[in-house]
């Protein structure tokens, strides 16, 4: 099964500041977690996201595209990145997600991708 792991920053948790040794440690934490998941054949895709201010939101109404600035919802929590993992079950996905540093500095929502009948 495939799981989307959304890396969510929580406002009351401070992210490490770039340039500090702690920041470098988190960075290498991401590298080693991602490398391990790739080596074990679990990683489908992953990546960091630009900040919500870089987002545009699109709606098509009456056949016409309406584009607004900013993210869909102004949340205090920000989605900072994502992983798509291919795991045997939820427990494996949770175990893998726990190795991503974001789990320590915020939260990770682990959400199964829907399986379409012809993929099953």
């Amino acid at each position: 099964m495939r799981y989307l792991c959304l890396l969510i920053g929580e406002p009351d948790m401070e992210d490490p500041v770039p340039g500090t040794p702690e920041f470098m440690q988190v960075l290498s934490g991401y590298e080693s977690a991602t490398r391990a998941m790739a080596a074990d054949g679990v990683l489908v895709d992953s990546g960091p996201l630009q900040p919500p201010s870089a987002a545009a939101t699109l709606r098509v109404r009456d056949g016409r595209p309406l584009v607004t600035d900013g993210p869909f919802a102004e949340l205090k929590e920000q989605i900072g990145g994502y992983y798509v993992l291919d795991c045997a079950d939820l427990d494996e996905a949770l175990r893998r997600a726990a190795t991503i540093p974001a789990a320590r500095y915020g939260a990770i929502e682990v959400r199964p991708l829907m399986v379409m009948p012809d993929q099953a």
Binding site: M1, Y3, C87, A88, D89, L90, D91, A93, R95, P112, M114, V115, P117, A120
Partner: protein
Amino acid sequence: MTSQTEIVFRREWGRAVAVVTRLTGDLGLAEDAVQEAFAAAVGRWASGPLPSDPSGWLIAVARNHALDRLRREARRSGKEQAAMLLLSQHDPAPPPGRIADDQLRLIFACCHPALDPGTRVALTLRSLCGLTTAEIARSFLVSEATLAQRLVRAKRKIRAAGIPFRVPADDELPGRIGGVLRVVYLVFTEGHQASTGPRIVRGELCDEAIRLARLLARLCPDDAEVLGLLALLLLTDARRDARTSAGGRLVLLGEQDRGSWDRGKIDEGTRVLDRAIRLRRPGPYQLQAAIAACHAAAGEASATDWPGIAALYAALARYEPTPVVHANRAVAVSMAEGPAAGLAILDELREDGQGWRWHLLHACRADLLRRLGRTAEACDAYRTALALDPPPAEREFLTARLAEIDH
């Protein structure tokens, strides 16, 4: 349904569901198939003798129903094809140890932290303990339709989220076992202190909880709290028969016939607790078991080690600062140092308001006031307790106490 068939059904439900869930990987499908097997059995067993191996018969018939269901479905996923293969393979009735493993797998799925906490208990009662949706709905004080909907949603989530039917690996087990113990504890409590229904004790739920606790203790023989829970359930359940009078009334601990306590359960519970304590990792279940062991060790009520029990409750309150624990500590202190000292603890609870709408707290206060000779206040406290909707058996008890002193 004859009562003999009913007993077999209750016992076999959880076993059959666990086995068919392992084969199909689908709890909803397994329950439907077992339900159909039971329906077939009602007709057959009513008119003739029980088969020599009712368990094996039910599992075999349920497997066939599950296989039929999967064959009828036009579209099948790879998983379902794998399930069909497993179901159609010749497999003699699984031995008891294998069934126990299947039940452990199922309990970890039903108690998975990704499921809503309230639904975990309901799902365990349905899937592993064989209670009907109506029975569970009654004890949760919700309509049967609401509860059925919750169970359907939970089973759908197990399927959609890929919650595995698997005992967690050794390094994950410590993080998961606490949630499972909690569910087993709540199943027992529901049996020991039935919140609804005419009976004070629903023994079949106590039996189920003890059976599940034994399975967990076999899985985690070096986990002090797992052993603590098993000890607690055994030591508490030892008093089951003494808790209800011949007329179906609640009999309090101090007035119970200690000769009718189950010595076998007390001995086993004490042994298990000793093993837990030797592991030197204290916890709330061990503390509660130690309290139950203090009661069990007293040959008569007057010989109870109340100062010891009060100290254990004080330690328990550090883990669980709940109104229930404070109220019990108040009772123990009142027995050790007199009713005034116990009342002082209860009146502290009034300050923060927590638990003040709980009938037992007022029942307990009423008893202490009565013993202090403050009759008018005691009557008020009994009336407050009665106004807070106690279960029928306790209502009867409180009404009788009030009548004794209200002149």
